[in-house]
């Protein structure tokens, strides 16, 4: 019998060595080099400030790769950033003076030309830029005064005007040769040259994004970050990502599900971040369909919903009841409004008044014509939404309404909602900027009710709300803003054009050896340039 041939023996040796290497490595990233690994659930969009449409990509643009004109402080006031100072010229224009020491990562300086270029491209309809819709709708023009000075003119005086400039300029010298409608597909977006505290290193789609510190970042803006590298890993499954966090495969897990909070708290040495975010969930009623054209019915159904029960049971306490689209952390929030009550007696009284009572003893209310109080509730197939609509169904059943749940795939839900083909819908709204009047206008202004596929999908037409929204959008004094939004919220509570449910807490977790992490409504990655790994 021949002995094992040489090739087989060396394969065996190789396998043994590999096994030893595996054993030696173990499972955690103690690692070499100061690289923080952040686990996220979905891949990024292109890193182009003009064409970006993704939330986390926007955070990386504003806090890591690029330098926006201004930033927000913890009280949500605007503070200088790329713009080191500004002069407001009445309420019609503003002049920004840029810092001279911010450079693109290829060495060229960031100048007013880049700012003007970014503005002009964003304003062009062909670019289909979200900068235009989220920030520049009230800004008419940008003018280069000199290489470090820009004047913007407004279309009309409006509240929170400084906040129109929370965006970063893109490099003109690299992008101006690209046609506006092709900007979205530019190769630059996948290999960006930025101006921020981190520079781009590598991006493998659906796998990882690597950023490295920028050693030339100006000291006045915080200087070069402590971390040498940041590595974002894309892990689509929530349970898998949590496993990686617990075994040390990642240093941070963004975001975390409410149901995972207990498991994280049970593990020693973990940091949990929970804070009210920019997402508000609501029950949309379609005013073009009976019985939702009757405010009494809407109010009655709103009284029948026990939001606290839902927050405790399904969100594991990670939410606060919502009264309107003005978030609880906004400086303009109305402070002294009582939450909308859970009052089944009021439900019964209002429905009786509106002509809905149980005429045949089957537990369901019918109107005078004998039609039962029955409607469909549309939702996407997300696990949280599915659970909430089931609870809503049972809560509304107690009030005598027969709710038929329709759970469909997300794109289908969006299409039906946009096309106003629904009775009632449970969905959310995500604030894409900090302008308080933006969401109310989009959701409730009557001019939006007639536009096809606008955000006013419930077809709300209320002159009182319209006036308050317009006033809120123009008021420049904070006390006045608070008063207006207070009246607005009270009107919402009284009329229930949609029934606001809750602000979902943003949840994220990090291992104990990652310090400097601060998260709030401004974003999870806000303090990225201060993150540090303990050794």
């Amino acid at each position: 019998m021949a002995t094992l041939n040489r090739p087989v023996r060396s394969v065996r040796t190789g396998l043994c060595a590999a096994l030893l290497a595996v054993l030696a490595c173990g499972g955690d990233t103690g690692g070499t080099g100061r690289t923080a690994v952040i686990g996220m659930r979905s891949d990024f969009g292109g890193f182009n400030p003009i064409t970006n449409s993704d939330l986390y990509t926007g955070e990386i643009i504003n806090y890591a790769l690029f330098t926006p004109l201004v930033q927000y402080d913890s009280a949500l006031n605007i503070v200088p950033n790329l713009a080191r100072s500004w002069e407001e010229q009445g309420d019609t224009a503003i002049v920004f003076h840029l810092r001279p020491d911010v450079r693109w990562h290829d060495g060229r300086p960031v100048t007013a030309d880049d700012v003007v270029f970014t503005f002009e491209r964003a304003k062009l309809p062909e670019t289909a830029s979200l900068l235009q819709s989220a920030f520049l709708a009230d800004v008419a023009s940008a003018e280069r005064i000199d290489s470090l000075t820009v004047r913007f003119r407004y279309m009309r005086p409006h509240a929170q005007a400084l906040e129109d400039f929370w965006w970063a300029p893109a490099p003109r010298h690299l992008l101006d040769s690209i046609a506006p409608d092709a900007l979205r597909n530019a190769a630059f977006n996948r290999q960006p040259v930025g101006s921020g505290p981190f520079r781009f290193v590598e991006w493998r789609a659906n796998d990882r994004l690597v950023l490295a510190r920028n050693p030339d970042y100006p000291a006045d803006l915080g200087g070069p970050p402590p971390l040498e590298r940041i590595l974002f890993r894309i892990v689509p499954e929530a349970s898998t990502l949590l496993t990686e966090l617990l075994t040390g495969g990642v240093h941070a897990d963004i975001p975390v599900l409410p149901a995972q909070v207990e498991q994280i708290r049970a593990q020693p040495g973990m940091q949990l971040f929970a804070y009210p975010g920019r997402t508000v969930y609501y029950l949309g009623w379609n005013h073009a369909r009976a019985p939702f054209d009757d405010a009494r019915v809407r109010r009655a159904l709103a009284f029948a919903v026990n939001r606290q029960e839902i927050i405790e049971a399904l969100l594991h306490g990670q939410g606060v009841p919502a009264e309107g689209p003005v978030p609880p952390w906004s400086p303009a929030r109305p402070a002294d409004i009582a939450p909308h009550a859970f009052a089944p007696d009021s439900t019964a009284a209002l429905l009786e008044q509106a002509g809905w009572r149980d005429r045949n003893g089957d537990g369901l209310r019918e109107n005078a014509a004998g039609q039962p109080l029955r409607f469909s509730l549309l939702s996407s197939d997300d696990a949280l939404r599915r659970a909430v609509v089931e609870v809503l169904q049972s809560q509304l059943r107690r009030a005598g309404a027969d709710v038929q749940i329709r759970v469909v795939e997300f794109q289908t839900m969006l299409a039906e909602h946009r096309n106003r083909e629904f009775d009632a819908v449970f969905t959310n709204w995500i604030l894409d900027n900090f302008r308080v009047s933006a969401a109310p206008f989009a959701l409730f202004h009557s001019t939006e009710a007639d536009r096809a596929r606008s955000a006013n999908r419930s077809s709300v037409r209320d002159p009182v709300l319209d006036t308050l929204i317009e006033q809120g959008g123009a008021a420049t004094d904070l006390a006045e803003q608070r008063r207006i939004w207070r009246d607005f919220t009270l009107r919402l509570q009284q009329q229930q054009p949609v029934t606001f449910m809750f602000w979902l807490n943003e949840l994220a977790a990090a291992r104990g050896d990652l310090s400097g992490v601060g998260m709030d409504a401004r974003g999870e990655l806000r303090t990225l340039r201060q993150w540090m790994l303990d050794r």
Binding site: T29, V37, S133, L241, T247, A455
Partner: protein
């Protein structure tokens, strides 16, 4: 045989084109459109309309179809709507990751499956046969996503928490932060460690199926007269089984290889999602959920072609291996 192959290939062209056309029109019938996802629920309609114009989605359907087909025939798969880059680039990046997973899986599946099948056949009705049958049935019936999560739970999370000597990494192809700093041998070991759980998940289910099939084939072959003759000639049992019975019972099993050709490229969606393996399975699912038409069409076309070719390969292998089969 050559004429047979040519005829089949010629027939494949309209078949594949027909499938691709069907995918195109069905996709456009489904509610939702590519611009909706990316732009989120808040974006004003005029921006979405402009983006639809930019992507050519406002053109009538037959114009879009003709534009797609003509681009396609010149080898241009177009740009992904979701990722803003050429589709060919996306496929080129995802394919090697998938091939690593699927080729390893297929090789292991066939080896393990055949060995199991042979063992069960020669020891039919023994305790070993019974146990392996039950175990095979268990893994064959197990949904892949559940198996994946259980494997990760036990061999990654719990192993780490209970301090086992070998705790396998939960996700990805390589260790995130450390990979670049490892020696070449360390790198190989790291890749191997990351490959274990996904490959094991896929192999266990597939090998169980191959094992059952092989067992059935072996049992049938072993009862043939020529096996009796071989034994009567005085050949050792090992040669009878391995040289005569196995080769003949493997023929149908080998032709299955042709049918697995599409799997080689489509990857396994659940396993890739759960183990965060950046392969073709995730590309397809993400594209479908985002209504990324160019990517869906390109991958649909590729799989249709591979299935047709795979079937052809299976038929050809079968005819080559078994001289009794003849095609006119």
């Amino acid at each position: 045989m050559i004429r047979f192959i040519l005829r089949r290939l010629l027939g494949a062209v309209p078949l594949v084109l027909g499938i691709a056309t069907l995918i195109f029109f069905i996709l456009n019938l489904a509610p939702g459109d590519p611009t909706a996802l990316y732009f989120g629920p808040n974006v004003p309609p005029e921006i979405i309309e402009q983006q639809r114009r930019n992507l050519g989605l406002d053109q009538p359907l037959h114009i879009q179809y003709l534009r797609w087909v003509s681009g396609f025939l010149t080898g241009n798969f177009g740009y992904s709507i979701a990722q803003g880059r050429p589709v060919a680039g996306i496929l080129r990046e995802a394919l090697p990751a998938t091939l690593l997973l699927t080729v390893t899986t297929l090789v292991l599946t066939f080896v393990i499956g055949v060995v199991l099948g042979v063992l069960q056949a020669i020891r039919q009705h023994s305790a070993l046969d019974g146990t392996l049958s039950v175990v095979s049935l268990f893994f064959y019936s197990m949904p892949s996503f559940w198996l994946a999560l259980m494997m990760m739970l036990i061999f990654s999370l719990k192993a780490h928490q209970w301090g086992w000597p070998v705790a396998l990494p939960a996700t990805g192809m390589v260790s995130a932060a450390d990979y670049e700093f490892l020696s070449p041998l360390g790198k190989m070991g790291d890749r191997l460690a990351h490959l274990v759980l996904p490959v094991a998940t896929l192999t266990l289910a597939l090998a169980a199926g191959i094992g059952r099939y092989t067992r059935g084939q072996m049992l049938e072959v072993v009862r043939q007269d020529y096996i009796r003759t071989a034994r009567a000639k005085g050949l050792p049992e090992g040669r009878v089984i391995l040289r005569h019975a196995l080769r003949n019972s493997l023929l149908p099993v080998i032709t299955l290889l042709g049918l697995y050709l599409p799997f080689l490229f489509s990857g396994a969606v659940f396993v890739e999602s759960i183990f965060a393996w950046p392969g073709m399975g995730r590309v397809i699912v993400d594209a479908i959920l985002a209504r990324d038409y160019p990517v869906i069409l390109a991958t649909g076309f590729i799989f249709a072609s591979l299935t047709v070719i795979g079937n052809l390969v299976a038929d050809v292998l079968y005819a080559w291996a078994d001289p009794r089969i003849r095609y006119e």
